[in-house]
């Protein structure tokens, strides 16, 4: 019976600072945890006392990778609090920006963070020499994803043009049509990506678990959902999210751990795929099949494959949204908002999973209460459970291999640690 001691300090190729600690003595796990060492930021404290119109611009700064995601959940929450309705045009533009961000985040994860593991190199840099075509393709795809965000919202990181009620600057039809063409032209690149992935081997590991994602009757839920759906606990109305998402503080983490009524659960691309498979386009389903992914899949490493499937979905979504926008004719919209007291919850299924924002404002539009629940926070507990199931299966490997498997597992979840480090609920008296 062997001893294993692993301490991966500052896991690389993840967003934010985290450590993996494993201590096995005589074959028995004494300690195994994912430590979150990111400096806490206290976003809830930033928000209190600020104006309704600042919420989205403040909270988008929680995360550079999914700032359009935060903006989306924040705007929905604030619009619900103030009773603001948005137009079809605004909805489509937001969904288009959201698709752009989902694409860029998934490409970043697949090509920069995961591919090096599968190709046996420490990062994307050596690939510039060994696989120049793959690197150029990755850059091309990511640039397109970012250009979608830039055209619609000004920039991808911390979007300017996404505001409560409407877009202050509506993109020009000609610019959208140029993007549509590029989206169509990117389909061959997507197929090459799929071909590349087919040649690579992901670890085989399964653990039966609960999946949670937003669900919408009319669409594959990303920007918005109608309910929260769990494979174990059924549907929960979005305003009642706290029934599904239950938090507790754990000492080794600046992020609070989350469980459902029945235990840990997973959110993210794989959860969405498992729950909303039926609503995927045929083209996306084909890719899933080609890559050996079918619902319900219990291998968290397959999250990356689910992301690639979503890339196909978002690419085709983008084309559809642009067609609809151009057909409708783009026009400037009124931005005036009547401010009144209220409370509202907003939810989006961002690249890493379900994100909730909740605000209460007073009748001057000042934020008096807020709560933010971030996907990675929900996943942390599940990752630890996975690690506990995985370690006994790979105990015969070397310490380096065990460490790599654990790191790859963490990476598969595509965690966003800076997001996760301030998701604790605030109780205001």
């Amino acid at each position: 019976m062997k001893d294993v001691k692993i301490n991966v300090h500052d896991i690389t190729r993840v967003e934010g600072h985290g450590n993996i600690v494993l201590d096995v003595q005589a074959g028995e796990i004494k300690e195994l945890k994912l430590e979150i060492s990111e400096s806490p930021r206290f976003y809830e404290a930033f928000l209190l006392g600020r104006k309704w119109y600042e919420a989205a611009h403040i909270t988008c700064r929680i995360c550079g990778i999914c700032s359009i995601g935060h903006t989306s959940a924040s705007l929905q929450a604030m619009e619900n609090a103030l009773g603001v309705e948005i137009s079809e045009q605004t909805l489509l533009l937001r969904k288009l920006a959201f698709a752009g961000e989902t694409l860029q985040s998934h490409y970043l994860h697949a090509f920069y963070l995961v591919a090096p593991d599968l190709l046996g190199v420490p990062s994307v840099l050596p690939l510039v020499k060994t696989h120049p075509d793959v690197v150029k393709m990755a850059l091309r795809l990511k640039r397109l994803a970012n250009d979608i965000c830039c055209t619609v919202a000004g920039r991808h990181i911390h979007p300017c043009a996404m505001k409560v009620k409407a877009f202050p600057k509506v993109p020009k039809a000609e610019d959208l049509l140029a993007l549509k063409q590029r989206l169509l032209d990117s389909v061959p690149d997507l197929h090459s990506t799929v071909d590349l992935l087919k040649t690579l081997q992901l670890p085989a590991f399964e653990r039966e678990m609960e999946f949670v994602a937003l669900h919408h009757p009319d669409e594959y839920a990303l920007y918005r959902g109608a309910v929260i759906r769990s494979t174990v606990n059924g549907d929960t109305p979005i305003p009642d999210y706290k029934q599904q998402v239950r938090e507790k503080v754990v000492p080794h983490s600046h992020a609070k751990h989350v469980s459902s009524a029945t235990g840990p659960y997973m959110v993210g691309a794989l959860a969405r795929f498992n729950i909303n498979y039926d609503q995927l386009r045929p083209e996306s389903k084909e890719v899933a099949e080609a890559l050996g992914l079918q619902p319900v899949c219990y291998n968290p490493y397959m999250n990356t494959i689910a992301q690639v499937v979503e890339c196909v979905e978002c690419t085709l979504d983008g084309v559809e949204f642009i067609d609809r926008l151009v057909d409708m004719g783009l026009h400037d919209e009124d931005m005036t908002v009547e401010v009144k007291a209220g409370r509202g919850v907003g939810a989006s299924d961002v690249p890493r999973g379900t994100l909730f924002h909740e605000y209460a404002v007073d009748d001057e539009g000042t934020i008096v209460d807020c709560n933010l629940i971030i996907p990675t926070g929900q996943n942390l507990n599940n990752i630890e459970h996975d690690m506990h199931a995985l370690v006994p299966q790979i105990m015969d490997k070397t310490e380096e291999e065990i460490a790599l498997h654990l790191e790859m597992l963490v990476r598969a979840y595509d965690p966003c640690i800076s997001c996760a480090t301030h998701l604790l609920k605030v109780e205001f008296v």
Binding site: S39, P40, E44, A45, R61, G64, I157, P168, H254
Partner: protein
């Protein structure tokens, strides 16, 4: 020899590091000019030695403080990138409260376990050679700086108000659309991206060295803001002051 560049992140959203790699069209050219030797978010390589450190994030814990000093010792050139690192950014909003109060507010009783000190820009802790402003930094400006450094030039960053860039783009001033903007007192360099997309500037690049704050307070009041709102316009990205060191 190409300069060895390492990127580090402190308290922040890591968006500036991301902005660097969002230079997709230019990334291969940039990699011809520099050797990227460490970047936790995207690479597993670690470097013991480097010439230039690009550092994002504010210093907001004792651990941060220790680490930035180590980086300063190793780096020949220390570049602060992004609002968190140059002005304290949004993080400094927490400095409005006592640190104990803040922990209570967000984490309740469990908060005491956390190491947190008032958020500071890098220059409040170590000498900084160059500051690249913005939340996030501007890609074009970043590329220009990389190029200038490679040429041995001292990059010239603007110290005039944003309105200059906004007017060159012929944007409709957002004040004429019933909105408000920090442009007249905020440093240019982002191409006035927010007003270009119809939103007022929030001041993420910090104030110019000689802002006419009084004039701007009057302008904001003239456009219907209350005193609190006026102050909030100023402090969103610029609430760090030397007093926070106390």
């Amino acid at each position: 020899m190409k300069p060895r560049v390492a990127m580090f992140a402190f308290t922040c959203c890591e968006g500036c590091g991301l902005a660097v790699i969002e230079c997709e069209n230019e990334l291969l050219d940039v990699l011809n000019l520099i050797d990227l030797v460490e970047w936790r978010e995207g690479l597993s390589e670690k470097a013991e030695e480097y010439d230039i450190a690009l550092v994002e994030g504010s210093i907001s814990t004792h651990a941060d403080e220790k680490k930035i000093k180590e980086i300063r010792e190793k780096a020949k050139v220390l570049v602060a990138i992004g609002a968190c690192a140059t002005t304290g950014g949004l993080n400094a909003l927490k400095n409005r409260y006592g640190m104990h109060e803040v922990k209570q507010m967000v984490y309740g009783k469990a908060g005491e376990q956390f190491d947190t000190i008032p958020a500071r820009p890098l220059r409040a802790v170590v000498p900084v050679d160059l500051e690249l402003h913005g939340c996030p930094i501007d890609r074009t400006e970043f590329l220009r700086v990389v190029r200038d450094v490679a040429l041995g030039k001292t990059p010239k960053l603007p110290d005039y108000p944003l309105c200059v860039e906004c007017k060159k783009k012929e944007n409709v001033c957002v004040f004429f659309r019933g909105m408000t903007c920090m442009g007249p007192v905020v440093r240019a360099g982002c191409g006035a991206i927010c007003p270009t997309f119809g939103d007022g500037c929030e001041g993420c690049r910090g104030l110019v060295s000689n802002p006419n704050e009084n004039a701007h307070k009057e302008t904001l009041a003239e456009h219907g803001l209350t005193v609190t709102e006026v102050l909030q316009h100023f402090d969103m990205f610029n609430s760090y002051t030397e007093d926070h060191l106390a």
